[in-house]
Symmetry: C2
């Protein structure tokens, strides 16, 4: 009998959504999912479409996003390995995804059918409770984003986004933190235009705080970047 590909033993990190459950229960829950590959840049769930699946990022990276009626793309939170998304599927009344999700890297995702995961949640109400806890993180993020949007200028917002990315998805490379992100992604995350983003990044590069490559940024010193923005 082969070992399961996805089980409690394979969890490299804490999956907050499964916190408080026994290993055997986790195996049971994971066994009810199927795994799915999404190439980079593919949209995994679509805003306003029926929330028929709950998903767990196993390997890769993604982010929530939506488009405004005017066609502007807005990037929300990042989704990292161990994060669940599409949790709207857990509410008993059939409903719709609140935002879209897009793979940023090639990703492996566990997928549960709505009916299946609702059934499991009724059996293990801890899943409801954990989901609720996770929504509080999302609200915290959203309130911070809202505050940023109404009280910070473009430069501050961009620096904040870049520092957040450096901390979360940056990789240390020879004295720099390398962040794989385009100006456009930064701009859409900070809610500014790519033109404005480019101007500010150039000015930081002139100051020697960062180095810019095509499609990536090397942050020399997050602290100096922070101070430079706070100072102005």
């Amino acid at each position: 009998m082969a070992a399961p590909r996805f089980g409690a033993a394979q969890l490299h990190r804490n999956v907050e959504w499964l916190h408080g459950l026994q290993a055997s229960e986790i195996d049971l829950i994971l066994a009810a999912a199927r795994s799915c590959r999404f190439p980079a840049k593919s949209v995994m769930t679509f805003q306003r479409e029926p929330a028929d699946f709950l998903l767990l990022m196993w390997e890769g990276r993604a982010h929530y996003f939506f488009e405004t009626p005017t066609g502007k793309k807005v990037i929300l939170m990042w989704i990292r390995p161990g994060d669940v998304f599409g949790a709207t599927a857990l509410v008993s009344a059939p409903s719709f995804y609140l935002a879209s999700t897009e793979a940023v890297r090639d990703s492996i995702v566990l997928v549960w059918d709505r009916s299946k995961i609702c059934e499991l949640a009724c059996r293990f109400p801890q899943l409801f409770e954990n989901t609720l806890l996770i929504t509080t993180h999302y609200f915290r993020w959203y309130i911070a984003a809202h505050a940023s949007l109404v009280s910070q200028n473009a430069r501050e917002r961009l620096a904040h986004v870049l520092l957040g990315l450096a901390e979360n998805i940056g990789e240390k490379v020879s004295g720099f933190i390398e962040v794989d992100v385009t100006n456009e992604e930064l701009a859409n995350s900070a809610n500014i235009t790519a033109y404005t983003a480019s101007r500010m990044i150039s000015s930081w590069e002139r100051d020697g705080v960062i180095r810019k490559k095509r499609g990536k940024i090397l942050v020399r010193s997050p602290k100096r970047l922070f101070l430079r923005v706070a100072g102005h």
Copy 2:
């Protein structure tokens, strides 16, 4: 034996948070709360303070809000009778309120201690599920607010806020919808300054779409207001 002041029989409207529970269960849950009066303009829960209570608006009106580090007040969703708030108290790990709530009218509120409501939720997991459903409404609101903030101009945002208020808390008075709200509250809801709000309201009044009184606005025709903004 006196009838309880707060019980299933006293629920004038659907309390979404209690959906799917039996009347006897609802009585049990309501009996575990105490009622509390808050005068208008009093702050009921404070952002970042321990989330020790879950609350249910019984009678009155309130809104969520927070203040930015720069001291700017941001008004979020309204709280109407039948709405629960401070639901952060339901997560098992002790946590903190994500936003502040302020009574706008004199209000009567049911209050549960955190430990008590967690205990009840474990007994009736439907409460978790209902809370989860309610959070989806909040997210929907927040995504709409975010979209509005990044893709609409001040005039559109203000009109949107005013139309929302007219629909939700407006009262029909001799051909007008009377909305009890100051320019400053409108401005803080639309994330503009009270000066800008005043200018726009004046222009709408000149056009005859609304009438302005001290501390209130009479909307003549929501449809015309909507069109006037959409047209520009």
